[in-house]
Amino acid sequence: MSTAHVQKLDRVVIRFAGDSGDGMQLTGDRFTSDTAAHGNDLSTLPNFPAEIRAPQGTLPGVSSFQLHFADHAVLTPGDAPDVLVAMNPAALKANLRDVPRGATILINTDEFTKRNLSKVGWDSNPLDDGSLESWHVHPLPLTSITVEALAESTTLTRKEKERAKNMFALGLLSWMYSRPIDATKAFLESKFGSKPAILAANITALEAGWNYGETTEDFSVRYEVAPAAMPAGTYRNTTGNQALALGLVAAAHRAERPLVLGSYPITPASDILHELSRHKRFGITTIQAEDEIAGVGIALGASYGGAIGVTTTSGPGVALKAETIGLAVSLELPLVIVDVQRGGPATGLPTKTEQADLLQALYGRNGESPVPVIAPRSPADCFDAALEAVRIATTYRTPVFLLSDGYLANGSEPWRVPTVTGLPDLRVENATSPNGEDGKGNPVFLPYKRDPQTLARPWAVPGTAGLEHRIGGIEKADQTGNISYDPDNHEFMVHTRQAKVDGIANTIDHLEVDDPTGDAKVLVLGWGSTYGPVAAAVRTVRNTGAAVAHAHLRHLNPFPANTGDVLAQYERILVPEMNLGQLAFILRGKYLADVRSFTRVRGLPFTTIELADKIGHLIEEITK
């Protein structure tokens, strides 16, 4: 029995890395669930190639999952791992540069064969040549120990036994960080219930991993990370895609309307289609369309019929949907377009994150075609963003862009589950009766007669007697909606559509600035998924005694009404973005503000360190 010393830590970053087929995402997911159940705050970053099974043992085939957990509020998945689990040479090589010297590396030595080493261009074995001396390395023959632990199974082939090695690693890590494994056992039972031999092998491997830590002398220290202090409530762990799907279900429930999703499979958005497809019980209809254009067309057709029409996609899909979104602008019908952004252009980096679709969402259509744009700031925030997108779409009868991204989509964090009755009331009325008179005083329906407050036109759905009318993508006469080529009418309608979208600013919160000392001269302004890294960097900078203000935009169109005033208050404004400065470009144009852009496009979130450095330099610059 091990007499491992228990050491308390306030935070840990673990990265599991292996071949695409090694089950690293599953291992990470399970460790995350157990960590969440333990009460730590956490944030995760899955990172995997677009290829389902790239050639085994090669660098392109490496898949990893990083988890940051702590006894305090966690804002990012962590810059650098404290522990790397490397299942093969490729995983070690691909990840080593991120691992600080002195950190712990668990290595599956079974895979360090001459052949596998040469696949990644290593002539000598780093386990023997001293090149890993500055790290704390635990060499473990994970594959063979797992196979040995499963020696009694006569039904499984050696290959099948080897595949359980990820569970062995999970068991060992769970022991190291004092995580319970019961929930993972229950999970395995539900996953492999119909395959008893595979189930038994996975559970045996999981327990063997735990027992290995417990009984061998290899590990002298066990760690404990105490639960984080979080607001009281019921919590669950969620990814951004899942929260977004649940937000759409909740929005439809609160709107008391059916929801119709028209969607074409695309990474990294498909999980929303998958999730919503399961929720027919909630009146959700999902239609897997023949292409991206049909996906949005189906959603628009459903909206025309009175449902909440939603389409989910990524950047390449948005490009194809552009014309239909323009039609929705012209028809003035509700529509929610979820763009889970990924690296571009073209196919780009399907599984990696980026924020480079902002300008596409804002301007990627012909004509003056204003569309409200909102962006969630964290995986759990995707839930609230979905409700807000539906609110704007149905209240203003307009398409709305919801810009998530690959990091939010697949990353996860604990989410305090809201009370359904406390969610916004999203009910809006359909038109039921004529709203005007013709020249002779007879009641008529005017499809483009607007609500004076919102400038929204009536939502008059087919099946409503007396309101039969025709709408279309050709310019419409004010009020009647009849085809009109009149120059003054077109100018009026262009301005009116813009004014309607601008007016949404009346119903959104002012931009709030976090400036605890009130004397900061530098403002960091972010949007979307950069919230976590920016907040973490701001915290780091403040810990050095410097003052820095932080604000975050949820609404990218229209901006909160006080945005210009906020920008005017600071000597330096830093806008970090995972693009080449798209928000900064707009802020400069709209507010003539001297915004400094800080950009990275590596397919990965910002690190806290690089952001903190940048903020530090700006503060230095003006205090000189």
Binding site: R236, V249, R281, F282, G283, A289, E290, V417, A465
Partner: protein, 364 residues
């Protein structure tokens, strides 16, 4: 008065579930379906005749007018919804079937019609057209085929005969053509028919059969464009010639053409295809009896291939009308079953349970 297409009784009508006019309501007339908008097609356009036929036919359905919706794409024909006093949407080029799929699937109480043209449906919107037919969404697609792009002022279309000289093909078009009926049959369409703008009775009979059909009904309507492709169908409109060329399909009967003196009858030939032979020379065992209900579309396809750019033999009528579950019915029944099995529409508690999921923990 009306033409008998000989179609078998339909089990589940295409307009089942769409609210009907109450018995004591005034009879609808063509005027009820005429909007206040001035019709802006060119003088002599075949679209006028089709519009009049549709406006005249819709009252026959006996449906509440507000439950009828026409969705169109872009092109001359796609202006159609503006002239009908129903709900209507003039959408974007080629996308009407997709938009109609969303509407039809979410609203079983609507009679959904798509109006499109040969460019709209077969070129830019080809993908949506074939997938609507494959899925068998309950809608009627009226494909006005004038074999030319009219609204863009006369370029060749996917149905323009090879060699057609237009502004974009001054040396003659080298494109091969789509036969819309063959295409529809290949795309698993459950109802496929062809008719002509100038034959009001036939057009009305086909519209009626199409509306009765549950699932996607594709109706190709030959339509003359007097400006850019005048006389495209003259060979089959000309009274002297049409009798020898038109093949009026009637379910349950032999497929014939020609007048009484020179009647020809369709027979299966040895290579698996079909061809016309003089009636007196036909081997009775090889004579093709038209059957719209055949699950195997091969015979309908063979008949569709009689047609070619030279219009020697042009089949008119219903090629295929088979019963197949419609997509929207299937989608709705899955949702309905899920709701019913869960004890009815979701309550706040049900949504709460969904949000919580299986793995929660308490803080505080």
């Amino acid at each position: 008065m009306s033409i008998d297409l000989g179609l078998p009784h339909v089990g589940h009508s295409g307009i089942a579930g769409v609210p009907e006019l109450p018995d004591d309501a005034d009879r609808q007339t063509k005027r009820d379906f005429t909007s206040d908008q001035e019709v802006r097609w060119c003088p002599g356009c075949g679209d006028y005749a089709i519009l009049a036929a549709v406006q005249g036919f819709l009252p026959e359905l006996g449906l509440k007018r507000e439950n009828i919706t026409f969705i169109s794409g872009i092109g001359c024909s796609s202006r159609f919804p503006y002239y009908l006093n129903t709900y209507g949407m003039h959408s974007i080029h080629g996308r009407a079937p997709a938009i109609a799929t969303g509407l039809a699937t979410s609203r079983p109480d609507l009679s959904v019609w798509v109006v499109t043209g040969d460019g709209d449906a077969l070129s830019i919107g080809g993908n949506h057209l074939i997938h609507a037919m494959r899925r068998n969404v309950n809608m009627t697609i009226l494909l006005f085929n004038n074999r030319i792009y009219g609204l863009t002022k006369g370029q060749y279309s996917p149905t323009s005969a090879p060699g057609t000289v237009t502004k974009s093909s001054p040396y003659g078009s080298v494109d091969s053509v789509f036969n819309p009926v063959s295409l529809a049959l290949g795309a698993e369409a459950s109802f496929v028919a062809r008719t002509m703008d100038s034959d009001r009775k036939h057009l009305t009979a086909v519209l009626k059969a199409a509306a009765e059909h549950r699932g996607t009904a594709l109706v190709e309507i030959y339509q003359n464009c007097p400006i850019f492709n005048d006389g495209a169908f003259e060979l089959i409109k000309d009274v002297d010639q049409q009798q020898a060329r038109l093949v009026h399909l009637k379910h349950g009967e032999a497929v014939t053409t020609g007048n009484d003196d020179a009647q020809q009858v369709l027979v299966r030939n040895e290579t698996g295809g079909v061809s016309f032979v003089p009636a007196g020379e036909a081997d009775a065992s090889r004579v093709v009896t038209h059957d719209v209900t055949l699950d195997d579309p091969s015979q309908a396809f063979a008949i569709s291939r009689l047609d070619g750019p030279d219009m020697t033999h042009v089949p008119m009528g219903v090629f295929r009308a088979v019963e197949r579950p419609s997509y929207d019915d299937l989608v709705r029944s899955q949702v309905l079953a899920a709701v019913q099995n869960a004890g009815g529409p979701a309550s706040d508690d049900d949504v709460s349970a969904l949000l919580r999921g299986k793995d929660t923990w308490q803080v505080g």
